[in-house]
């Protein structure tokens, strides 16, 4: 279109700017979402405010700023040991789960296994089972085996309970690696081990990272299992420690509780940010096929 005709169009004001109509349903959706958001954000807001407040209580209020709560928590031995416990627990769980999930997912993705579909459905079903359902028999089993109050044996059960979902997750990532790449490598003369190490594994790194981070975050926040399976104060991970803050200290120290919760959620926030990079397609198979 020439400049002249464009101007003429503009002169005659033929371009209509539509006004936005706010429909009732859109309004209702937004109100509900805002309410739900408040539900989640207000406790977080309390945590942030209370952590720097000199006189915190259960209400959200503008804080009288202080860093005394932080100094208090960092100075406490049980707070530090709970971080250590959480790290051991979540770390062991993550290593175990990721390794086993990788070993299970590869054949499930690539090989002809009888009843594979049914097996995958069983895994999916198992990943949905509430763990608390198993707590009592597992406790008895641990008593019988003499495994109670060890972070590593506790991690074993955490790993077992997070494995189904991890396998499912990992399988989908391996499915995404084109089979033709493995065929090409085989024809190129590579051994099975070399194919796994140099072709499949590098391309599965995002999947391994996502599975590991997801498992770590879950194990980091696990409460019921370590609560039941450990009892010594030095073996209590963070979530159990938070519970102890509320229960055993008689008087609530809201400030310390808020600071501890804040510090404890930091690794999770960092890992989430890290994971979102992998999820948003930081890696692709461009150039592999087509």
């Amino acid at each position: 279109m020439s400049a002249v005709s464009a101007r003429r169009l503009a002169d005659k004001e033929l371009i209509v700017v539509p006004y936005r109509r706010v429909s009732v349903s859109a309004l209702a959706t937004n109100v509900v979402l805002i309410l739900l958001g408040c539900f989640f954000l207000l406790p977080l807001l309390w945590m942030v405010f209370a952590s720097v407040d000199a006189n915190p209580d259960w209400a959200i209020k503008i804080p009288t700023p202080t860093l005394a709560n932080f100094a208090d928590v960092i100075g406490r031995a049980d707070a530090l040991s709970s971080f250590r416990s959480s790290l051991i627990l979540a770390g062991t769980t993550t290593v175990l789960t990721t390794l086993l999930a990788l070993l299970a997912a590869y054949p499930l993705s690539r090989m002809h296994i009888p009843f594979r579909r049914s097996f995958m459905l069983v895994i999916l079903f198992a990943s949905g089972l509430p763990v608390s359902m198993l707590v009592v028999p597992v406790y008895q089993m641990y008593v019988y085996l003499g495994w109670l109050d060890s972070l590593y044996t506790t991690a074993l059960f955490l790993a077992a309970s997070s494995l189904p979902f991890a396998i499912w997750l990992m399988k989908n990532f391996i499915d995404a690696v084109p089979l033709e790449l493995e065929h090409a490598a085989a024809i190129d003369g590579a051994s099975t081990f070399r194919i796994l190490r140099q072709v499949v594994l590098p391309l599965t790194v995002p999947g391994i990272a996502v599975t590991a981070i997801y498992t770590f975050i879950n194990a980091w926040g696990a409460f019921i299992i370590p609560f039941v399976l450990t009892y010594s104060p030095e073996n209590q991970p963070g979530p159990v420690e938070i519970y102890n803050f509320m229960g055993s200290h008689g008087l609530f120290k809201f400030g310390d509780l808020a600071v501890f919760s804040l510090l404890f959620s930091l690794p999770v926030i960092v890992l989430y940010l890290f994971m979102s990079r992998y999820f948003s397609g930081a890696f692709n198979f461009g150039g592999a096929v087509k």
């Binding site: 490598a185 024809i187 592999a288 087509k290």
Partner: protein, 411 residues
């Protein structure tokens, strides 16, 4: 030493489906054989069986004199170019090219030298540091090709390597592949559904349909003497016209009646033994069905037709016309000026007719082979006899690397 490839009575059955049925095919040493057919005809399965990615259900596959049925792909000493290229996305071009040699334990300096050589042959020298995702389609194609070339295998397998390229690039790569084959003379099995690729690149073409091999011949022979209706219809564009006809013998002379005309079988042609009078299918290539005004003197038979569609192609025009109730396509010169619904006269040379059994579809008329095929054949024969110098050295090296002996250990 060049290796031939033999399929002996090979079947491939997937569940209830027979993908390949009783395949007997030899790819001569150093030959470029194109396996062509519509999708689902079993050509890719055949290739994958040769690569070792599928196991034949029955039959024997031999590379050279070695039975490879139970040899895993890595010990077959074949190289394959995939339709999708299957480049390793996390490696740069250099590592993609080097992967196969490294997997076979070649020394670093040898690898570097050969990567450079191969990259130069394919014009990839300046791209060695790039990842596949940073390459254009044509460049990826070259890398895929290079990954096969660098290995100097006994057999090249190509699975529709050009089908993901745009039209211009495809023509260019077609020529380049032919040049590379001229240069290295590696036994090549090339799968495509594109009959133009088949005709232009193949020393011989094997046509498959519904899991069965239909015909194997030099391109011109295939074109001039198709074994059956399927091959006749598949090879050639626009497609051969098929119209019903009737064979009659009076006083020892056989004549064919179709489209309202009747003509004796031409002198040079010969009917096959089992032929009897009755219904037949007559095949007419569009270029043999000419516009009456420009027809050569050989085209003595004329039929009248009504133009239905005119498709100008630039250098010529395809005219679809209705003639005695049958729709036929004919090649017209450009700017002929004919229009829809116009009546035109079509002329054809009786010597160029194809006759097929109406029921079995088999050809019942052997025609003399046109000059081109003979020439082509001699070239091929000559090529086979000439000692493959240079090439043979490379092949000896390949053998010396010990792939066959390792394979024997494992099988």
């Amino acid at each position: 030493m060049l290796s031939e490839v033999r399929f002996e009575g090979v079947h491939k059955i997937f569940g209830a489906e027979t993908a390949v049925e009783d395949l007997n095919l030899t790819v001569n040493a150093g030959e470029f054989l194109v396996l062509v057919g519509p999708s689902g005809c079993g050509k890719t399965t055949t290739l994958r069986m040769l690569a070792g990615l599928e196991r034949p259900s029955y039959g024997r596959i031999l590379i050279g004199d070695r039975l490879v049925n139970n040899v895993s792909p890595r010990f077959r000493d074949v190289a394959m170019v995939f339709q999708s290229y299957a480049l390793y996305p996390h490696m740069n071009v250099y590592d993609n090219l080097a992967f196969g040699m490294r997997a076979r334990g070649a020394a670093g300096s040898v690898v570097a030298e050969r990567v450079k050589e191969t990259a130069d042959v394919l014009g990839l020298g300046h791209l060695l540091k790039r990842r596949p995702s940073e390459l254009s389609g044509g460049q990826r194609q070259r890398v895929a090709l290079g990954r096969a070339l660098i290995r100097q295998p006994q057999v090249f397998l190509m699975d529709e390597p050009l089908s993901n390229l745009d039209a211009g690039l495809r023509v260019q790569m077609r020529a380049e592949l032919s040049r590379l084959h001229e240069r290295f003379r590696v036994t090549t099995l090339y799968v495509t559904h594109d009959q133009v690729e088949a005709m232009t690149m193949g020393d011989r073409i094997a046509v498959m349909n519904l899991g069965r091999l239909q015909q194997v011949d030099a391109p011109e022979t295939l074109y001039d003497n198709p074994a059956n209706i399927f091959v006749a219809g598949f090879i050639g564009s626009p497609r051969m016209n098929f119209v019903p006809g009737r064979l009659t013998t009076t006083q020892g002379k056989t004549a064919i009646e179709f489209l309202g005309v009747k003509t004796p079988i031409s002198a040079g042609s010969q009917l096959t033994g089992e032929t009897t009078d009755g219904e037949v299918t007559v095949g007419l290539r569009p270029e043999d069905l000419m516009w009456g005004r420009v027809a050569s003197p050989d085209s003595r038979l004329t039929v009248s037709a009504e133009v239905d569609v005119v498709e100008p192609m630039g250098h010529e025009a395809y005219v679809t016309a209705v003639c005695a109730g049958e729709t036929v396509t004919s090649r017209f010169p450009p700017r002929s000026g004919v229009r829809t619904r116009e009546r035109v006269e079509l002329a054809l040379n009786p010597a160029r007719l194809h006759l097929f059994d109406a029921r079995s579809g088999r050809t019942i008329l052997q025609r003399p082979v046109a000059g081109g095929a003979d020439v082509r054949r001699t070239v091929r024969e000559a090529r086979k006899e000439e000692p493959a110098e240079g090439r043979s050295d490379l092949q000896r090296q390949t053998g010396a690397r010990g792939a066959p002996s390792r394979a024997e250990e494992i099988s």
